[in-house]
């Protein structure tokens, strides 16, 4: 008998994602993004995102079903992001999922978005090991997770204490007059730059900070330092190489991210590192992570870029894993929690 067919719905930020998965096989991954509508605001506007989700939801479900070659009645279970994320945006996904699951009379799994970013790699590289460290970097999150017991037990090792890494990319891109979202533009500009040209600070890496925040991140100081450096160059009328600034800034971010991720693996005796989130598409992060993992004998797993950004496939993948494990489904009245703790992989009682 084949594995059940799982539909996953993701609406925690500005992407309306619907994925369809059977076992660990990805059948469809439809995403509608409202990113263009946010560009003129220079960042994600929650109200604009929510309005877009309502309009995109059903067409995206239909597109996913068509892509997978299945009918809505073939779905055996529905999984949805229950949190964390933008409260208003999450509600569109959860309301849709509740109505869909109850009308189709199939189980509903309200799952943790962060765990989804790690488990999605099963669609690309096969089953995860019993234990792995997850490094999640995007405009919304920068965190290190310890994923144990086949994703049943997830612990937050650390997170950003101020800005997310992706936010820092957006802000520096804006100062450099590069478009939103800034990540891909910084990456592109940095390819022609010297990462050692300017020594920007590495947040929370001093001995004292490392003792207190071994796995936490801070990008606010870096952001300020880069902004100040650019302002000084501009007011002095000095020539400034955008590629050098981009490369030096990017190096400061990915140096800290990879250093702390490798340290987390070492400290916990973990041999597998999974990187997810939009910033995982950054070419320098991939290269440096690969280099440092090889040195430390750690297996690096990074899903394809379209699976790293927010999408429905990651939620379907996690739902599929929970179904295979026989996990209990969520009740119809589960609340949507914008601050859902990472340890809650699937939501049960209120």
């Amino acid at each position: 008998m084949s594995d059940p067919l799982i539909l996953g719905i993701e609406t925690s930020c500005d992407e309306t994602g619907v994925g369809i998965v059977r076992g660990t096989t990805l059948l469809a991954d439809a995403v509608a993004s409202s990113v263009d509508e946010h560009a003129r605001f220079g960042g994600v506007v929650p109200e604009v995102a929510s309005r877009a989700h309502v309009e995109a939801m059903i067409p995206t479900i239909n597109r996913a079903c068509a892509e997978a070659g299945v009918g809505i009645h073939d779905i055996d279970a529905v999984a949805v992001t229950g949190g964390p994320g933008l409260a208003g945006a999450l509600l569109i996904g959860t309301a849709t999922a509740k109505a869909l699951a109850s009308a189709l009379d199939v189980p509903l799994y309200a799952v943790n978005h962060l765990a989804g970013h790690v488990v999605v790699d099963e669609l690309e590289h096969g089953p995860l090991p019993e234990t792995a460290v997850g490094l999640l970097v995007s405009g919304g999150h920068s965190s290190l997770l310890l994923v144990r017991d086949d994703a049943q037990d997830v612990t937050a090792l650390g997170a950003t204490i101020d800005d997310a890494a992706g936010e820092a990319f957006d802000k520096i891109a804006r100062i450099l007059d590069l478009p939103f979202p800034g990540g891909p533009w910084i990456d592109r500009a940095a390819r022609d730059g010297d990462p050692t040209a300017i020594a920007f600070p590495r947040g929370l890496t001093a001995a004292k900070d490392l003792a207190e925040h071994p796995y936490d991140f801070s990008f606010s100081g870096l952001k300020t330092a880069v902004a100040r450096w650019i302002a000084q160059q501009r007011s002095a009328g000095a020539a400034m190489s955008v590629p050098d600034v981009a490369a030096s800034f990017q190096e400061a971010v990915v140096d800290v991210l990879t250093r702390k991720a490798i340290q987390a693996c070492r400290d916990h005796g973990v041999e597998h590192l999974v990187i997810g989130g939009g910033v995982a598409a950054n070419s320098r992060l991939r290269a440096l992570a690969q280099e440092r993992c090889e040195q430390a004998d750690i297996v690096l797993r990074i899903p394809a870029p379209h699976l790293c950004t927010d999408n429905g496939a990651m939620i379907a993948a996690l739902g599929s894993k929970l179904v295979r494990q026989g996990a209990a489904p969520s009740p119809l009245d589960f609340p949507t929690l914008s601050v859902l703790r990472v340890s809650t992989v699937v939501m049960h009682e209120q």
């Binding site: 929510s50 309502v54 309301a95």
Partner: protein, 238 residues
């Protein structure tokens, strides 16, 4: 024809199952912050009470009202429609109130839903309960004096007794799914085909009167929230 109706445009989450003229099930839960938690449960219970009928259309109050509630209602209605493969009809929630209010008055009247920020969403109706103005969003004091002197319905109108003639307002405090169902069934029955082209409204419209003109003479609407206002967001100065 069995119709499932829902309305989440006010603090009330309400659900009704209507078969022709017969109300098979009806439930109202009042809690402005829990539409998303209670709606699917109320629907499931109502369908159970109604004897698990085969539903042939979903009707949804599309506001105007608090955005979060509207989005929960509309998203849910669309998902039921998708799963059951039945049409989803939008009804202006003020029109549903007007249907209930027209039983209580004989002349023209007005209905209101809370818009927060000291404003109300409102529409004006003639003696037959046909919408003649609105929906608009305004502070009660800014509404035309002649309209303010009409009988008003809606709990938020009752909160503005000094400005609105709202002695009877509490007889129809909120939009109710029962009236959304009656309204939709009535207009479907009058040959307004449920698959007729719906009014396409920009959900990014603000109250420049565009929503009111687009809705003039319209009864069955596209299943999309009636925001009336534009989103509050400031374009970056880059």
């Amino acid at each position: 024809m069995v119709m499932l109706a829902i309305d989440t445009s006010s603090p009330a989450t309400s659900v009704a199952v209507l078969d022709g003229d017969v109300l098979l099930a009806h439930a109202v839960h009042i809690d402005a912050r829990r539409h998303a938690e209670v709606l699917a449960v109320l629907v499931q219970e109502a369908l159970e009470t109604a004897g698990r009928p085969r539903v042939s259309a979903v009707a949804c109050g599309v506001g105007p009202g608090a955005y979060t509630g509207l989005r929960v209602g509309v998203s849910s209605a669309l998902a039921y429609g998708l799963a059951w493969e039945v049409p989803v009809l939008g009804v202006c929630s003020l029109d549903a109130m007007a249907l209930a209010a027209s039983d209580a008055v004989s002349g023209p009247f007005a209905c209101a839903i809370d818009a927060r920020r000291k404003e109300v969403y409102w529409a004006q109706y003639d003696a037959d309960g046909e919408r003649v103005a609105g929906p608009h969003v305004q502070q009660p004091g800014d509404i035309d004096g002649e309209i303010r002197a009409l009988p008003w319905f809606g709990d938020i109108a009752a909160a503005h007794l000094e400005l609105l003639h709202a002695e009877m307002a509490d007889t129809v405090p909120y939009p109710d799914a029962r009236d959304v169902a009656r309204f939709a069934a009535h207009h479907v029955g009058r040959g307004r085909a449920i698959d007729a082209a719906p009014v396409l409204l920009s959900t990014h419209g603000h109250d420049d009167g565009a929503t009111a003109s687009a809705l003039a003479g319209q009864h069955l609407l596209a299943p999309l929230p009636l925001y009336v206002r534009r989103p509050d967001a400031v374009e970056s100065a880059r």
